[in-house]
């Protein structure tokens, strides 16, 4: 028996049945499931995207909602009912102010290099800050910059979007206003501008010093 016949031997199940399938798969999972994964698990010829549309409608306003996170989907409880779930609450390690600000800068300026984060915060990124965010799986490495030193860049992850209930990084609160105000621009400082933060207290000053060609990094 072939698993992927050229022309399906059987017609795909009717849409309401496909909705049931998507519902079952998403309900059974704790994490998010991508459209591709859904299609792979459902019988050949199914249209999970259409089924998801139907499901989203069905669950609108319920105690459990269908949420989109990037390219993936998941059921999540409605935010207004959080007070009922105290028993399930996970105590998360409290993030330092530095970690929170660094996370926000990465989310709003991504892809962003360490030197750029330091330029915005005006202070060296301390050890452990990026480590902590990587461990939470809220940030990841992006492409290296094509600038001297080829610094790595940082991006936020799908788990970040899931945690903060965002459909995509475009839905970050206040993004449009910040952009309109020019506060997300890559604006190079004038030469001899505000002194860049030293890598003081950093593990290896010589090596971790922010790029002196800072300005050039903001050219995209």
């Amino acid at each position: 028996m072939t698993t992927e016949p050229e022309t399906p031997l059987f017609a795909p199940p009717p849409l309401p049945e496909q909705e049931r399938m998507v519902e079952a798969i998403l309900f059974a999972a704790t994490g998010m499931v991508t459209l591709a994964e859904l299609a792979a698990r459902m019988p050949h010829g199914c249209d999970p995207a259409a089924a998801l549309r139907g499901l989203a409608e069905r669950y609108a306003g319920r105690g459990v909602e269908l949420r989109r996170i990037g390219e993936a989907w998941a059921f999540r409880t409605a935010p207004d009912l959080g007070f009922l779930m105290q028993a399930e609450r996970v105590e998360t390690r409290k993030l330092s102010r530095a970690a929170i600000e660094t996370l926000a800068i990465i989310a709003y300026h991504q892809p962003v290099t360490r030197a750029e984060i330091e330029e915005i915060r005006g202070v060296a990124v301390s050890r452990g800050t990026l480590d902590q965010l990587l461990e939470l799986d809220w940030i990841r490495f992006g492409r290296r910059r094509n600038t001297p030193g080829r610094p790595v860049t940082y991006l936020v992850t799908e788990a970040f979007l899931d945690h903060f209930g965002l459909e995509s990084a475009r839905d970050l609160p206040g993004l449009a206003e910040l952009r309109a105000a020019g506060l997300l621009d890559s604006r190079p400082g004038p030469a001899g501008g505000v002194p860049a933060p030293g890598a003081e207290g950093g593990p290896d000053p010589g090596e971790d010093a922010p790029d002196p060609d800072q300005g050039a990094l903001f050219d995209d």
Partner: protein, 273 residues
């Protein structure tokens, strides 16, 4: 930069705090800030706090008075013998420079950015930092998974026929590599020391040498025999002897002098008092 600049009297030597009511307010603010200087994350953070105490609208911030407040703050910290990190002093030097450029008539011959451009960039940085803080606060206030929103608590797993999926996260990979690459760094050091003149040795030597003669001699003269030819041996011995010289000077057993930057370093012993 602003109209206020013109009215400002020339800066008196040894600034008197009580000359205007504004200065008194500044002083109070600066004192309040000094109390928790530990709480600031660098000069930019401090500048933002100073800006906030006077102006709500960062878009209209006047850099000159801000620079003055910052300089006053650093001055105060020094007077109270609070040790400020080098970052703060670098910023103070830069702001003093900016201030002088803002007060002087622009030099048409001068190259590079104008004082106004530099001030505008500082104002932009402050606005941007403030905006990122606000964004961070908004982000953290969202309904969050595991706190306000919950995932399925009882994921279903079918019992029969398990397939094992091997997994590893990026952080595991990076840690593994870091572990491998640093493991070697510990091992051979003890055996690699042939060309390193240790600080303890240098201290020992220098102490003896300085006790013996009291005239000024160049640092080179104190290098041990066999370490004077060029290369890593000489570099190591020079570094160790220099640090030893600094240490003995600190202890009051030696004196160190240098006529000009990068000039010859000279050292002599000092009789203990």
């Amino acid at each position: 930069m602003t109209g206020a600049d013109a009215e400002r009297p020339p800066e008196p030597e040894g600034r008197d705090w009580e000359d205007t009511p504004l200065a008194r307010a500044d002083r109070r603010a600066a004192e309040a800030l000094i109390v928790d200087v530990e709480g600031f994350e660098g000069p930019l953070d401090l500048l933002l706090a100073l800006a906030r105490t006077h102006k709500v609208d960062l878009r209209r911030i006047a850099v000159l008075p801000l620079a003055e407040q910052y300089l006053a703050f650093v001055e105060q910290a020094r007077a109270m013998r609070i040790e400020l990190a080098a970052d703060y002093l670098v910023m103070a030097a830069w702001l003093a420079y900016l201030k002088s450029r803002l007060l002087l008539p622009p030099d048409p011959e001068a190259e590079g950015p104008t004082a106004e451009e530099m001030a505008a960039h500082l104002a932009y940085q402050l606005q941007r930092l403030e905006a990122m803080r606000a964004a961070a606060a908004q982000l953290m206030a969202r309904d969050r998974l595991g706190r306000d929103i919950f995932a399925r608590g009882l994921p279903e797993e079918v019992e029969r026929r398990r397939t094992i999926r091997w997994d590893a996260s990026l952080i595991d990979l990076l840690r593994a590599y870091a572990r491998l690459r640093t493991r070697d760094e510990f091992r051979p050091w003890a055996f690699d020391r042939g060309d390193i003149h240790g600080l303890d040795e240098a201290l020992e030597r220098l102490r003896g040498q300085l006790a013996a003669r009291l005239g000024w001699l160049p640092l080179d003269a104190f290098l041990p025999d066999g370490w004077r030819r060029g290369g890593p041996r000489r570099r190591s011995a020079t570094a160790a002897t220099f640090v030893a010289g600094l240490e003995l000077t600190r202890q009051g057993r030696a004196e160190l002098r240098q006529a000009e930057p990068f000039g010859l370093l000279e050292l002599r012993g000092r009789a203990p008092e």
